[in-house]
Symmetry: C2
Subunit: 317 residues, 2 copies
């Protein structure tokens, strides 16, 4: 049972309530669902930025510098650092420490790391829910930072208004990014560490690939912004490009359409979750368990069992 | 419509039919579902081995050498190499070429790489379906090789009879693997490149972590096998450990129980998939689309819409 006074404190951006709320959505249980329902009316005012790219590209440093830049303009920033690959990159842990020492003491900034650490699965859902929490607490910007590796960064990109893909010159990332479908999710690219050898070629390669995609005069053409985040170079340009993209989204109504698309996914999830919980009642779980041995020994087809369970559900609904 | 003659050729291990069948399950559409239903009766005879670990640990080389070893014993081997991280590791591409030159010409071996390449999502389901195809075609062993990064390797481990986690001495992988929950999925570890400095310490660290987990006398205690796969050292020991684990599974009935557990997941998926397709009829999709604008402008709650859609579905079922 979540009390009104707790929600009120969250909306007032009480730091302890924000932290506790994120812990609640991380559990992804009935309490999380109740919390999300209670905060919904206050969600939707933050501008959401997704930052993704390979390990070591400098995502954390860019997040750090961009946050400082936004703070100087009087904006507040909530940050969710997601590290779905954590087994072997250790990104979240390191990134955390770098950031904490720098912007972590600022009251206009809230940082939360979410890594797998033994509890794999559903991480991107939890990250998006945590973004909702920060949104409801009134942060002007919510930055979701994630290592680009598979489904997670797609989910994060879908939840962001503007998605930035960070690459570095030397890794041949452009071609890999294209293969992985990252070209499709980037609203713009940041070529970080652009003082390193190969920056010119990497930028040219990216441009060639982007040109190959083709686009008409009304569609958005992703730019390539060069930065050296560790020296704080290129950050105003990144901020400008975010604003340019935001203006484009608003002018073309895509801002609204994208949010509708996200809401559509969310509502479908809500319906399916509810239906699933009714479907797998104790008695149907038991009936499934009793059939399993016959299926494994080949005496019954799983398709037959599935059909029976479905008919049973429909009759009892 | 899948013809009986095609299924017959697949069961006879006609290479072209096997390749085409995997392409069909990769599409993950109604034709895939039909194919899986048609092959089901012939699935369940292959022994399934999952091989996972960080990029560069030598998974492909071990798969290669283990396959050659099994071939010498007259066994046939189907291989699914999954690379969910492909954006920045390029693992599948490279691994493919290494293997193809070596064992790819052998008629008793079938190799298929599955990487994300622009179509992210559902990769592990497709990989497990592809394993079913190879199983139905009569391969004695099916090896599923995947980079350990998040949900995918858990799905693969769940679909394997024996899961091997490959680590190397220098990377501090043991501690990372523990954090990521890989300790829980390993039936045994292979410490590859064990001639490198730090092998002794890495092995000791792994043993300490494993001992910390604790286990009673009846439960399985994962061993650590040392190998230098590039010099073909340690492969018979890996094979022995697979057999020892297989014997343990059969003796304790876990072999059967694990397969029942897998079938349980599969049947649930079948029921939910069917239900979902009935739920999202054209008319309900339309009704959802019409409500979206009101939700985004804050005039309607998504929870209210979800409830309405659910009631509508229940009334019309």
């Amino acid at each position: 049972m979540i009390e009104d006074v707790f929600i009120k404190k969250l909306f007032d951006n009480d730091r302890r309530s924000v932290a506790r709320s994120i812990s609640i959505v991380e559990r992804n249980n009935s309490e999380s669902a109740e919390l999300l329902k209670n905060i919904f009316a206050n969600v939707g005012n933050a501008y959401r930025i997704g930052i993704t790219g390979p390990p070591g590209a400098g995502k954390s440093t860019i997040t750090n510098q961009l946050t400082k830049f936004l703070r100087k303009q009087g904006k507040t920033v909530g940050i969710i650092a997601v590290d779905p690959t954590s087994p072997f990159t250790g990104g979240a842990l390191l990134g955390d420490r770098v950031r904490m020492s720098d912007i972590g003491q600022d009251n206009g900034v809230f940082i939360r790391s979410m890594a797998t650490r033994g509890s794999l699965g559903g991480l991107s859902k939890k990250a998006v829910d945590a973004a909702d929490v920060l949104d409801s607490a009134g942060y002007d910007f919510v930055i979701m930072e994630t290592v680009g590796v598979g489904q997670s960064e797609l989910d994060i990109a879908q939840a962001a208004d503007t998605t930035i893909v960070v690459l570095v010159p030397e890794s041949g990332d452009a071609v890999q990014a294209m293969k992985a479908g990252l070209m499709e999710i980037a609203d713009f690219f940041v070529l970080n560490k652009s003082d390193r050898p190969g920056a010119q070629q990497a930028s040219a390669a990216l441009k060639t690939i982007l040109a190959m995609r083709g686009h008409d005069e009304h569609s958005w053409m992703p730019n390539i912004i060069k930065s050296i985040a560790s020296e704080n170079k290129g950050i105003p340009e990144i901020n400008d490009e975010i604003n340019r993209h935001k203006d484009y989204l608003i002018k073309t109504e895509k801002f609204k359409l994208n949010r509708e698309k996200r809401m559509r996914v969310r509502i479908k999830e809500l319906v399916e979750e509810k239906l699933r919980s009714e479907l797998w009642s104790e008695s149907r779980e038991n009936s499934l368990n009793l059939s399993l041995e016959k299926v494994v020994t080949g005496n019954l087809s799983p398709y037959h069992i599935a059909e029976e369970l479905l008919v049973n559900f429909k009759n009892q609904i």
